[in-house]
């Protein structure tokens, strides 16, 4: 057992660090969930792609550089340490792409991944519905057979990035007779197609970070079905553990925040909240090391299952505590708009999205501890 950084990772890390130091925008880009900010973040994605840094872990032919998990983690550490912009393409880059790598056809990969990597096509997720939140399999939006494809009807909600994105992916009920986890189909659709109405929703920070999507006979060609019709639940769940764990929130993000918190604590020059500051860094380091362990297990041929629920609860709770500690250190300045207020408002969503922490705790108790259902 060791923590030695292999030379290939060290070299890649140094290269990424140098590029980021030069290129990360200062002052920061305008807020991502505004029209101007979204466009600016899209341009940033193109810049990353041109430097070969947008999707380092993807195969080279889709714009990546075949980086190992270890190299990807190092890149993420450097990215967040450098204060790099929010990845506007996140839904596509880290969620849809993993699903496509597992279940997509070669034609789908060729068609969808390159514009995703460059930011020319930004993806929104369309999972939740008004009646299907934690109970995702309760969705009622439908996909009905039509000549050469499907017609979508229904309503999606809390769709991240849908206010400004180009396309979306989600589950639709294609067989109303089947058992609830069967009869679902995983589909991609154009947010500007006829029959689509997007109604942005202002989030806690005032910006439309997500939206409702109304679908009224929206046509989707067969080529935009991922996996087999009716197998959508299994397709979606096979990569859900990626969303909760590794790819959604890499450790570099929290280590960077913890490092900033330690810096803030030091500048404030008092002993206020010092135990909480220490705990925040210890937890961020624990998440990093735990991830190193996961990577080692994956590289030794293991798989990622219900264990990813441990990480989702851990990082989302950590993020809230860390930001709250920063605000407490700031005293009366804490309410003034700034980096920490933005981080705090964003962190508050963590225990809710990607499967609420209540759902994750039940998964942990039932699948990892063997508690009765």
């Amino acid at each position: 057992m060791d923590l030695d950084q292999d030379p290939a990772i060290a070299a890649f890390r140094a290269q990424a660090r140098a590029w980021l130091r030069e290129q990360v925008p200062d002052p920061p880009l305008p807020a991502v969930n505004t029209e101007e900010g979204f466009a600016a973040h899209r341009r940033w994605e193109r810049k990353l792609a041109q430097a070969g840094l947008a999707v380092v872990s993807w195969p080279e032919k889709y714009g990546g550089r075949d980086a190992t998990l270890g190299q990807w983690l190092a890149f993420e550490e450097e990215y967040y340490r450098s204060g790099g912009p929010v990845r506007v393409g996140q839904n596509g880059l880290f969620l849809l792409a993993s699903t496509l790598f597992s279940h997509g056809t070669p034609a789908q990969l060729d068609r969808i991944l390159p514009p995703m990597a460059t930011g020319d096509q930004v993806w929104a997720q369309a999972w939740s519905e008004p009646g299907a939140g934690s109970d995702l399999a309760a969705i009622t939006s439908t996909a009905r057979r039509a000549a050469g494809g499907w017609l979508l009807n229904g309503q999606k909600t809390w769709s991240s990035r849908a206010a400004f994105a180009d396309r979306a992916f989600g589950l639709f009920r294609s067989d109303s007779e089947a058992e609830r986890h069967e009869g679902l189909t995983y589909l991609m659709f154009d947010l500007r197609a006829p029959g689509v109405t997007v109604r942005p929703i202002r989030q806690l920070d005032g910006d439309p970070g997500f939206a409702e999507i109304f679908l009224d006979d929206v046509f989707v060609p067969d080529e935009d079905v991922i996996g087999m019709p009716g197998a959508g639940w299994r397709v979606a769940m096979s990569t859900a553990s990626h969303e909760r764990g590794l790819s959604l929130r890499s450790p570099g993000r929290f280590l960077a925040s913890a490092e900033r918190l330690v810096g803030l604590w030091q500048r404030q020059g008092s002993n206020a909240a010092s135990e909480r500051v220490a705990d925040a860094w210890i937890a961020a380091r624990a998440y990093q090391l735990h991830t190193f362990g996961t990577v080692a297990a994956l590289e030794a041929g293991g798989t990622l299952g219900a264990e990813s629920s441990l990480g989702k609860v851990f990082w989302s709770d950590l993020d809230v505590r860390l930001c709250e500690t920063a605000l407490d250190l700031l005293g009366p300045q804490a309410e003034l708009d700034g980096q920490w207020t933005a981080s705090y408002l964003f962190a508050l969503a963590g225990p809710i999205y990607a499967g609420t922490n209540e759902i994750q705790r039940s998964v942990i108790a039932e699948r990892l501890l063997g508690m009765p259902r």
Binding site: E259, A278, A286, I364, P372
Partner: protein
Amino acid sequence: MRFMLTAEQRRFAATLDELLSRADVPAAARAWADGDRGPGLAIWAALARVGVTSLAEHAEPADLVVACEELGRHPVPGPLAESLAAVPALLGGLPSSRARELLAHISSGTAIATAAFPPQVPLALDADIAQVVILSENNKIFLAQPVGTFDSMDPSRKLFAVRQTEVLAADADAVAAGVRHGTLASAALLLGAGRGLLDAAVRHARTREQFGRPVGAFQAVKHALADVLIGIEFARPLLYAAAVAVGAGQATAARDISAARVACADAARLAAAVALQVHGAIGYTRECDVSLWLAKVRALSAVWGSQAEHRAVVLAALTEPKTGPWS
């Protein structure tokens, strides 16, 4: 980088688990508390035969923490952090033939050691059964003998004030090595205790029925147990990283040990609180095995440095210019 236990380390843990599961450790811990050290010493002898007592001298710190997690989980009575880790590490740093001779006895299992390292460890645990009693004060190292006894909240821990009888050495590095290893081992023992408490609570929640169903079917119980597992699973990598840092002599070792110790003790404390609550009234009895870990967790997290001291060590390391948090 390959940050996971080797197959050999996993086998070693499984061997210890099997040995201790057969040995009826709870009965030995209760006898130990009642003054009958026979069954507990028999377990120590069995552990010596599989090499546990020589780990500090002959193996990696990672092997030591793997073993200590199992010993804490079962929960073996006696001066584990002292005899398996702190004293061998201290003696190993001394050049004298006397130190070598003592170390050989401890490694082979023919002697059990204990130690006081005031102020963090002011009293020597189980000095009455130890053949080697160390007192380390102001970077001086003495052989010592017990002069007064104190009862611990944990009935299986008998504590002794000690008085020096013979000067062994004056060696700050050896003392530091002793404290480092003792603290690391205490973190591993705490993590193991947390695991033992969680195992017991899970067993109880699956079988105890109320309202016509196992209490573990209720979300309030499930979620409390899930939080215990989260605490344990994210403390363990810190423990392994600290062992790696100690083994490699890295400059971050002190920070990493303290971080591990904070997380392991917190995980064990949460496990203790939840295990007690999940058991209900039976958990509040000496008859129930949960009692064997409950007080031990509190006792162990009070020695080898307090939580506040360890958090301060972490912050000091992070704000010192030389060793940044990214090293």
